[in-house]
Each structure stands twice: as structure tokens, then as C-alpha cells.
Symmetry: C2
Subunit: 184 residues, 2 copies
């Protein structure tokens, strides 16, 4: 594998980690500030993200994803130029691989749950007499939708990162024995 | 890595694939046959899994997981004794790795969405005036809960398989160069 490919993988990794950090922060911020109060006749009703458990989980998961990605991006940039150091340690590669896998699973689970909640909020569930709430709380739903869209985009980045960290781990096992001339 | 460890990994892989096949089938069967009719005064009301989109997705995902696991288990058993053949092909290992990863993500997403739906069904969501339905449709909820529990257990098996197939892929890269004396 040429140094050119290796450099591209590193650039892709750092870029994806920065993108994931940005998307996670944006998703958490959008959902965590999501609140709408409406007056029906004389009653004031408020919809807040804390009412929906799936949105609370989404905020927590995305905040964790953003923090983790920031730390990982810093690690990547710190060791960007070096071909030795922490990059060549199998233990570290295993940790990064495990962390990235866990992050991808958690981010996906949280996004799937929030997506399910948003579909029911948008369409209602007539069999259970759950009315759709986006007609009443339009602004609330739009903001939550934006947050969920960011979270879903973040999941794609997290899955791509899980593949890259797997690739980085393979490389350590494949490369050491024949001095970098691994065929793919 | 000794032949003993290798054998254990193969046995674990086949076992997990059979377990996943069983759990997927059970989850899909439990949820797909879930239906309850109740009479309120003179009105007959029916709750079926088709009313809840998340349960339809769960059935589809678990049916696919069961079918895929059955085929993979057959492949594992067919090549169980052989140390060469398809097992040593990187392309096949990559396919199995990708398939297992995709399966783990799909199974997790479907289970998370169904879990979110079941929590709202169980507790209701007062802010949106969604009443809890498990008081009305107790048998429906219990059966769906059993199906979701099987699906969650299946997700654990799918994640473990994703790790094993990653391990099998690493092994091809690490082992070829020094004849099986990879240190871990």
C-alpha cells in the first residue's frame, strides 16, 4: 500500500472525526434547545425535548459522540506526521477500533429510536388513538427534525469511521510481516 | 495462535450464527402473529403488529437476519474442517465481514426503534396526550415484548459475530506472512 493511499486514509479519518464532532454538537444543541409553548384557549401547553425519552437519549448520545470525536481528532492530528508512535501500537488500535464500533452502535441506536418517535409524531398512530402532534407543535417538530437529520448524518460518519479504524487495525497485522507491500 | 483457539473461534462462530437464526425466527414469529381483539361496550377494536411501523420493520429485519444466519451457518459448517478453501480468500472474508457488520447495524436499528415504541406504549406520553395502551391490550403488549426481547438478544449475537468476522479477517492478514505464529 503506497504512502499516498495511507495519507488519504489519515486525511479521511481526521475529516470524518471533525465532521462527526460538528454534526454531534449541532444535533445535541438543536434538540436540547427545542421547546415550544402554545396557548389553546386559556391553557398554556409546552412541548419540550425532555418530554420525549428518545430525544433525551439522542442528546446524550450526540454529546458523547461529539466529545469522543474531538479527543480522537486531536489524537489523529497529534500523530498525523509520525509513522511510528501510538499509531503502530496494536493495543491502541484495538482501543480505537472498539471505541469507534461502540460509538457507531450507540449513535445508530439513538438515531433509530428518535426517528421512530418522529415518524409517530408526524403521522400519529390511529390504532392507539395517538394523534399526530406536529400540527400543533410545528416549530418544535421542525427543530427536532433538523437535529435528527444531523444525528443520522453523524451515524453515517460514525459507520465510516468504524470501517476506517478496522482498516487501520488490519494494516498493523498485514504490514509488519512484509514491510508494507501488502496486496489488496 | 494455536489450532485450539482457532477451533474454538469456529465453534463460537457457528454457535452464534445458529443462535441468531433461532432468535431472529422466534422474534419475527412472535411479533408477526401478534394480534388482540377487544370489545369495548359494543365496539370491537383490534391491535395488530401492522399498526405499528416499528414492529413491521422489526419483523422484516429479524426475518432477514434469520435467513442470512442460516446461510452463513451452512457455509461455516461446510468449510468447518478445511483450513483452506473459501476461508482463506480475502474477498470472501471481506464479504462476510461487510455482511455481518450490515446485519448488526440493521438489527440494532430495528430493535432500538421497536424498544422506543414499546416504552411509549407501556408508559404513554402525557405531554402529547398519548395514552398507554398496554392496559387495554395486555396480551398484545406481552407478546410484542417477548419478540423485542428475542430481537435484543439477537442484536448481542449479531454484534459478537461482527467482531468474530473482523477477527477472521485480521487473521488472514496477520497469519499468512509467518505461518500461524501471530502473537496477540
Amino acid at each position: 500500500m503506497g504512502g499516498n493511499v495511507e495519507r488519504k486514509v489519515r486525511v479521511a479519518e481526521v475529516t470524518l472525526r471533525c465532521v462527526l464532532c460538528g454534526l454531534g454538537t449541532l444535533a445535541a444543541a438543536l434538540v436540547a434547545t427545542d421547546k415550544q409553548t402554545r396557548t389553546f384557549f386559556t391553557m398554556q401547553k409546552t412541548a419540550a425535548f425532555t418530554d420525549v425519552r428518545a430525544l433525551v437519549v439522542l442528546v446524550a448520545a450526540n454529546a458523547v459522540a461529539a466529545g469522543y470525536s474531538l479527543l480522537q481528532a486531536a489524537r489523529c492530528l497529534f500523530f498525523f506526521g509520525s509513522s511510528v508512535g501510538l499509531r503502530s501500537s496494536r493495543a491502541i488500535a484495538w482501543c480505537v477500533f472498539s471505541g469507534d464500533q461502540a460509538l457507531a452502535y450507540v449513535a445508530l441506536g439513538a438515531a433509530a429510536a428518535a426517528l421512530q418517535a418522529s415518524v409517530v409524531s408526524k403521522r400519529g398512530l390511529p390504532a392507539f388513538q395517538w394523534m399526530e402532534v406536529c400540527g400543533l407543535y410545528g416549530a418544535f417538530c421542525r427543530k427536532a427534525g433538523g437535529g435528527i437529520a444531523c444525528a443520522v448524518a453523524g451515524v453515517l460518519a460514525a459507520v465510516a469511521l468504524a470501517f476506517i479504524s478496522a482498516f487501520n487495525l488490519f494494516r498493523l497485522y498485514g504490514k509488519k510481516k512484509n514491510g508494507g507491500a501488502t496486496t489488496w
